[in-house]
Amino acid sequence: MELTGAEIVVRCLAEEGVEFVFGYPGGAVLNIYDEIFKQDKFKHVLVRHEQAAAHAADGYARATGRTGVALVTSGPGATNAVTGIATAYMDSIPLVVISGQVPTPAIGMDAFQEVDMVGITRPCVKHNFLVKDVKDIAETIRKAFYIASTGRPGPVVVDIPKDVTQHKAEFSYPKSVKMRSYNPVTKGHPGQVKRAVQMLLEAKRPMLYTGGGVVLSNAAEELTQFARLLGFPVTSTLMGLGGYPAGDPQFTGMLGMHGTYEANMAMQHCDVLVAIGARFDDRVIGNPEHFFQDGRRIIHIDIDPASIAKRVKVDVPIVGSVKEVLAEMVKLVRAGKERPDPAALKTWWTQIELWRSRDCMKYDRDSSLIKPQYVIEKMHEITRGEAYVTSDVGQHQMWAAQYYKFDQPRHWINSGGLGTMGFGLPAAMGVQFAHPEATVACITGEGSIQMNIQELATCKQFNLPLKVILLNNRYLGMVRQWQEFFYGNRYSESYMDALPDFVKLAESYGHVGMRIEQPGDVEGALKEAFALKERLVFMNFITDQTENVYPMIPAGKGLNEMILV
């Protein structure tokens, strides 16, 4: 039987086992929305801005490992989604974004709500398609999900003109996809894996530098086995947190611009460095020239060959899925008798403990003002470290990463690569849909939260009991911090004036609002909020305006050039 293009779209999503579509209707997608109305295979979540649709789909994907789906209309609907698409692209998150397009004959005519979506998104998608023939819809959507979720994952846009959703074609969903131009590898080259293991066994000062690839390839278990088997120190990037339990003594904390002293020093002074699903980006190693260390050998495991040898030279490149390569390495180590030199390792650990004893994350616990770090520590305690935590971008994001000790993967959800303010709240919605019973918190700032605050309405409509932890210092804190350190205290446009009464704002959306001004009230308020299982609670913590994120490596410097508190 022949189906319309719109029916085919909806059937394809059902075939892919999609649970949620985050979207916003409009002219070019009316046919698709009409079919959504008639079906019950997946739930449509009406957001209040298309950017939030992409972020919510993204949050869902990060929390589950499944592909998130967003649906937007042509023109402004599509462009509003672009920030969300770019966010997912930078962090390698699998998304399929379906955008409406003006009817085929109107393309190129500057039609109402027309924009070249394929052109606009080309630099920030893994791939994109314009479907010009109804007969191609099913195969294109099948390919879109395949491309988004395999290899190094990423967003895929499928742009569908309105007339194509009206036309009819026979529907059959392709069982499998084969593309001669796209065949991602998963298994590491056996010779290289063997070389790497040998190098590791001979290491005197080894270091495991783990990134988002560990989380994306579901390799937390393999990583933990691998690290414990060898007894090596582990650090993680912002994106990799939770890939290795933060509570474990082998974990040296996050590295990079706001990483711990011990992790950054160990990175710089190790003799064998294993980069596992991480890409040596500027916020992690700073300046590659400063990072260079004579005699240090580097093993790099990544599914994306283009990420290897991009910023630093590598001695043993291994292209493959982190999960498979680590499993293979564990097998090789177990099969052999050789173990790393225990005396050398002991000396190395003594050095690391010495660095650790610097206690680089200490802060003033007797302050009469609420310290943001304290809020996160208490929140960690009260949620027993089990919450899913999303964040926006800025100081609060760094404090969340530093002080909420993530023990499980896919629990820390933030925009690392693009650094998108406004990500946290919609992403938290996606997480809560994925895990309706779980505690989901959004740690945010008063700047970031205002960038997608309209989503409080979506939260109300779908009864999402999120906990919004607003660390309100009345400043764009990270901007303020840079202005303090590098711009002679000239706080140009970083003061957040005319803030709304967040308690009333939350209440007007139908939620619970709280304002906390005293350090002594923090714990009680958090307990009360997290006990309200059925309600969204918006907690406005009035924090110390002058608190900075430490340690800090100034941009362009090396890992051993940290500013410490």
Binding site: G119, P123, K126, H127, I147, S181, Y182, A306
Partner: protein, 163 residues
């Protein structure tokens, strides 16, 4: 270093702009780019002449390989290869210049493919430097118009780029 990169890609709308966009977005340099469908019309073959250090060229080939539409990439400069470029030059061919232009065209093994009483259009094929040499050998004032295709390249001997 100058490199000549050859690639096969799906002959689909937008494939060219993905390659061109990649070069501009990542700040790679394109000296010339030629593209046309192959004997298998579902595939296009592209030749890109670029310059960069070994690290940059490695990144270029990796990033090109990463494009979903790209089937195969090879850096032809890594081994024996042949490159050719076609140029059409319209020159003044009046009175005294007429004989001179014909002679120059013959010397460079060009062919005159269009004639008026005042102009010749000369077709010349060869490696880029040969075309450059021809233009340099001509009196600048005699050149009315030039158009060049950019280099196309192919590996020598058994070296074959196939899907």
């Amino acid at each position: 270093m100058r490199h000549i990169i050859s690639l096969l890609m799906e002959n689909e709308a937008g494939a060219l702009s993905r390659v061109a966009g990649l070069f501009s977005a990542r700040g790679y340099n394109i000296e010339s780019l030629t593209v046309a469908p192959t004997e298998d019309e579902t595939l296009s073959r592209m030749t890109i002449v670029t310059r960069g250090s070994d690290d940059v060229i490695e990144q270029i080939t990796k990033q090109l390989n990463k494009l979903i539409d790209v089937v195969k990439v090879v850096d032809l400069s890594e081994a024996g290869h042949i490159e050719r470029e076609l140029m059409l030059v319209k020159v003044r061919a009046e009175d005294g210049l007429r004989e001179e232009m014909k002679r120059m065209s013959d010397i460079f093994r060009g062919r005159i493919i269009d004639v008026t009483d005042k102009t010749y259009t000369i077709e010349l094929t060869g490696a880029g430097h040969k075309l450059d040499a021809f233009l340099e050998a001509l009196d600048k004032g005699a050149i009315l118009e030039t158009v060049r295709t950019g280099a196309s390249g192919i590996g020598r001997g058994d070296r074959i780029l196939k899907s």
